[in-house]
Amino acid sequence: MTAKLAERPAGADLVRSGIRAQAANSSFAFVVRAAAVSVFVILVLIVVTMTREAWPAFWHSGLGFVTGTDWSPSADLYGALPFVYGTMVSSLMALVLALPVSIGIALFINEYAPRRLRAPGVYLVDLLAAIPSVVYGLWGVLVLGPFLLPYVQKVADTIGTWPVFSAVFGGPVGLKSMFLAALILTIMIVPIITSITREVFDTVPADQKAAAVALGATRWEMVRGAVFPHSRNGMVAAVLLGLGRAMGETIAVALVIGSTAQITTRIFAPADSMAAVIANTFGESSGVNRAALIGLGVVLFAMTIVVNMAGQFVARRSGRKGAGT
C-alpha cells in the first residue's frame, strides 16, 4: 500500500476527473442556479403583469387612487384610502396586542417553564400557525364575535360615552368590526412573533445570563438586563414579519371585518381591508372596477414587500454580532 503510494507521482490525483463527472457537476450547478433565478423572474413578472392589469384604474383615478376616500364602483369612484387605512389599523392593533403576549410566551418557554414543558410549549405554538386562516375567520364570526358582543356593548355604553374615549370606543356596536378583525389577526400572528423572538432569546449567551444572576439579579432583572438588550434587533424583525403577515391576511379578515369602506376611529365599527375587499368583490367585478381591485393588490404587495424587507434587513443585522450601546 505504502509502496504503491510512493510509486505514484505526487499530485497525480489532483488532475480533474472524467468528462462525465464534470458534466454532472456543471448541469447540477445549472439546475440550482435556474431555480434561484426563477424566484426572481416570477417576482418581477407578478409586479409587471399586475401593474399592467391595474393600469386602467391608475389611469382613471391618478394619485386619487391612494388618497381618495370614496370607493363606489357604481359611481366609478375608486379611492382606496379606506382599505389602506383598514389594513394598517387592523394590523397595527393586532401587533400591539400580539407583541406582549408573544414575548410572554417566548420568555415562559425559554426562561420560566420547567425543562420538560419546553418542547410541548414550542409544539403548541407552532400548531396555532398550522390552523387554516378560513377556520380562524369562521371561528371569529361564529364563536368569538358573538361571545364578545355583550362585553363590547358594555364597554361602548360606559367608556364609549366618556369624552375623547368615545372617539375610539363609542357605539354603535356591530358583530363584525375592526376590533374583531384585529383580535383574530392577533391570534394568527402570535405564533410567528413567538417563534422568532424565542429563537432570538435562545441566542443570548448563557454566560451573560449567568453574569446578571451572579450580580444578584432576579429572573426578571436578568431578562431585562441580559436577554432584551441582546435581542432588540431580533424582536424588531419579529414585529415587522408579524406585521407583514397581518397585512396580507385575507380570508379571515374578510369574514370578520364587516366590509364597510369607511375611515373611522371607532374600533367597534365595521371597516374593510385591501385583501378583504379583493376577496369579497373580485368575482363580480369587471372593467375599471376589476382593474382597481388588482391595483389594490399591487399597492398591498408593495406595502408588504417594504415591511418584509425591513424585517429581513433588521433580522440580518441582528444575526451579526453587533452590540448596541
Binding site: 425543562r115 449567551p205 454566560d207 451573560q208 449567568a210 453574569a211 446578571a212 444572576v213 451572579a214 450580580l215 444578584g216 439579579a217 432576579t218 432583572e221 438586563g225 441580559a226 438588550p229 441582546h230 452590540a323 448596541g324 450601546t325
Partner: protein, 273 residues
C-alpha cells in the same frame, strides 16, 4: 524542581473566617461530583482552589453564591456557613446571597451595553443609584480600568480588549459592594500581560474583599494566593465515575513547600496521579 515561593506569607495566627463548609457535597442527578468538603476560608485573604481538571473546583466555587441552583439536577448537601447563616437554609434568598458574594467568570462576559451601563447594571438592580456616576467611576478605578475607559464610557464594552473586559467584569462585580469575590479561572482566556494585571489587581482588592479563586495554573496560585486548597479526583468505588475530594488546605507557601499529602506533592511537582 523549584517551587515558586508565595509572595505573601500569611500571619501565623488564623484570621477570622469568611466562609466555611462542613461536609459539603454536590450531586448532579445521582452522581456525587464533589464529596465531603470541610474547610474555612479566611477573611480578606486570597484563597486558591487548585487541582486537576474535573476535580470539582468550579462546582465547589459555585456553591458559595448558589450558582449551582441554575443547573437542573444539581443538589447540594452539607453546610456552607457565611457569617451566622447557612447559605442553603430555606429562608435564604439566593438573590441576596449573590449580591454579597459576587462572581467573575472564566471568559470575560460583559453585557452588550456601554462600559458605563455594564457597571451601572448591578447598581440599578439593587437600587444603589444615588451618586451613580461616582459609584461607577469608583468601581472602575478600583478595578484599575478607569484610565483606559474614562473617555469612552458610552462606548460598547465589547470593543474593549479581553483583559479590559475581564477588569470591567471585576468592576461590575465590586460596584455592588460585595463581601466576597469568587473568581472562576479569571485569567484562563487572557494573555500573560493581561493575566499579570489581573493578579496585581487581586492584591489590591484583597484589602477590601475576601477573594476565592479557582485556577488550573499552579504558578498563579503560588504567586497570587495566601491560602490554597488542593482537590483531586477519586474514582468511585462502584464504577468509573469520578468525584472531587479535598486533599489538603493550608497556607500557600506551606502547601507548596511542605505538602503533607503525597498526592499534593505529586501534583505540584508535576507527577500527576
Amino acid at each position: 524542581m523549584t517551587v515558586p515561593a508565595a509572595l505573601h506569607v500569611p500571619p501565623t495566627e488564623a484570621p477570622p473566617t469568611a466562609l466555611a463548609t462542613e461536609g459539603l457535597g454536590v450531586y448532579y442527578g445521582d452522581w456525587l461530583a464533589v464529596d465531603d468538603i470541610t474547610l474555612q476560608v479566611p477573611r480578606h485573604h486570597i484563597t486558591a482552589f487548585i487541582g486537576p481538571s474535573g476535580c470539582g473546583k468550579s462546582t465547589l466555587l459555585r456553591c458559595f453564591n448558589r450558582m449551582n441552583d441554575l443547573i437542573a439536577g444539581a443538589r447540594v448537601v452539607g453546610r456552607v456557613t457565611y457569617g451566622d447563616v447557612d447559605l442553603y437554609d430555606d429562608r435564604i434568598d439566593p438573590v441576596q446571597v449573590r449580591r454579597r458574594i459576587g462572581m467573575v467568570f472564566q471568559r470575560p462576559n460583559p453585557f452588550p451595553k456601554s462600559v458605563y451601563d455594564n457597571v451601572a447594571y448591578g447598581l440599578r438592580v439593587h437600587a444603589m443609584t444615588e451618586d451613580l456616576d461616582d459609584r461607577v467611576e469608583d468601581a472602575l478605578r478600583r478595578a484599575a480600568l478607569w484610565d483606559d475607559v474614562k473617555g469612552a464610557l458610552k462606548k460598547s464594552a465589547l470593543a474593549l480588549s479581553g483583559g479590559q473586559q475581564q477588569r470591567l467584569c471585576i468592576a461590575r462585580t465590586i460596584a455592588v459592594e460585595p463581601d466576597i469575590v469568587l473568581m472562576d479561572e479569571p485569567c484562563s482566556a487572557l494573555d500573560p500581560i493581561a493575566t499579570g494585571r489581573i493578579e496585581d489587581l487581586m492584591q489590591e482588592l484583597r484589602r477590601d474583599y475576601t477573594i476565592l479563586i479557582v485556577t488550573h495554573n499552579m504558578q498563579q496560585a503560588a504567586r497570587a494566593s495566601d491560602y490554597a486548597a488542593f482537590l483531586t479526583t477519586e474514582v468511585d468505588g462502584d464504577g468509573d465515575r469520578r468525584r472531587g475530594k479535598l486533599v489538603e488546605f493550608a497556607a500557600t507557601n506551606e502547601l507548596f513547600t511542605h505538602p503533607q499529602d503525597p498526592r499534593t506533592e505529586n501534583y505540584i511537582t508535576g507527577r500527576f496521579g
